[in-house]
């Protein structure tokens, strides 16, 4: 960092170059995340194709209302993050802090609802351990559905927890007015990460909650 260019690391020629490098690096990380979740989506697709009825029966035990509310909350948090990046670009520190806290609250609401859903599943013996019980055409295959459900939503929730940790780390920096048009890479990078977590949920919600609704609950 030099006096003339605050926030510009010495190995970069310009703020533009620094910003684009940070952005590209973040995207490369997100691409590895796409591959990580992609493998699980593929696993889901193959077993769903193999056991459509058992998967639809399992899906009908998920709470569509809670899932839809969580979708709205998470997309809402993506909006607050997009606005937070804007506030950082404009150097509006107070707005940035408020928007980051709002994002944290929305993320907390999502995880709260998720934990309510999880505890329902535990009480209904739908967690795929030895106490798993299911009245259906092929309980073992429905158990597979719930194994995939807990695995994918669990990894998604873990990503949200990490995101919440990053927000807590960002807030003091934002409070001290560290971000401006030249130097907002941390906020931008966090934003890309949070939007990615939103993207995963955008696919998880229809695939886990909505499939098989048309077959009726009987």
């Amino acid at each position: 960092m030099s006096e003339a260019h605050p926030g510009l690391e010495h190995h970069f020629d310009s703020y533009d170059q620094q910003r684009e490098s940070a952005k590209l690096g973040m995207w490369l990380f997100l691409i590895t995340e796409v591959m990580f979740f992609g493998g699980m989506f593929l696993l889901y697709l193959i077993y769903r194709w193999r056991f459509p009825v058992a998967f639809a029966e399992g899906s009908n035990h998920l709470d569509v209302t809670l899932g839809a509310i969580n979708t709205v909350i998470l997309i809402g948090s993506s909006l607050t993050v997009a606005l937070a990046v804007r506030a950082a670009q404009l150097g509006k520190s107070k707005a940035l802090v408020v928007l980051l806290i709002l994002t944290l609250l929305l993320g907390g609401m999502f995880l709260g609802i998720k934990s309510v859903e999880y505890s329902h599943k535990f009480h209904q013996h739908l967690f795929p351990n030895d106490s798993f019980q299911f009245e259906g055409t092929s309980p073992n295959n429905t158990r597979l559905f719930f194994a995939i459900y807990f695995c994918m939503t669990g990894f998604h929730a873990l990503h949200m927890l990490i995101g919440a940790g990053i927000i807590l780390w960002l807030i003091p920096h934002a409070w001290r007015g560290r971000f401006n048009a030249n130097n907002y890479n941390y906020v931008e990078g966090f934003g890309l990460y949070w939007h990615f977590v939103d993207l995963v949920w955008i696919f998880l919600f229809p695939l886990l909650y909505l499939l098989g609704r048309n077959l009726g609950t009987h």
Partner: protein, 111 residues
């Protein structure tokens, strides 16, 4: 005032600040699509249920990537990296499903 590296690559991207109106419009669109996908899932469209659910999810993902993640203002290099990732995801799904989904077609012995 461009630096040597910018003169070489001709890249001077600057900072693009999105208007709140645009971000709110995109959010509104995402809400409409969320409502639509829940509503459509209650109708019995046969195989089209899966197609519409995935179609709407892809559209929503596109909106988030293009507007919220600022890809529309990104450099060619970033766009190329994202396209490459998409290509490999399509390969992963395409080749694997080409195996699993066609196994029953020829009545191969031993399966």
């Amino acid at each position: 005032m461009s630096s040597p590296i910018e003169q070489q690559t001709g890249s001077h991207t600057g900072v693009h600040v999105e208007s709140p109106a645009l971000l709110l419009t995109v959010f509104g669109g995402l809400m409409v699509l969320t409502f639509l996908t829940v509503w459509v899932s209650g109708l019995d469209l046969g195989r089209m249920n899966d197609v519409t659910a995935l179609g709407i999810a892809t559209l929503k993902a596109g909106l988030v990537i293009w507007y919220f993640m600022h890809v529309r203002h990104s450099t060619i290099l970033t766009k190329l990296a994202i396209l490459t990732a998409t290509f490999f995801v399509v390969l992963l799904f395409g080749i694997t499903l080409a195996d699993y989904l066609t196994r029953g077609w020829l009545g191969v012995l031993g399966r």
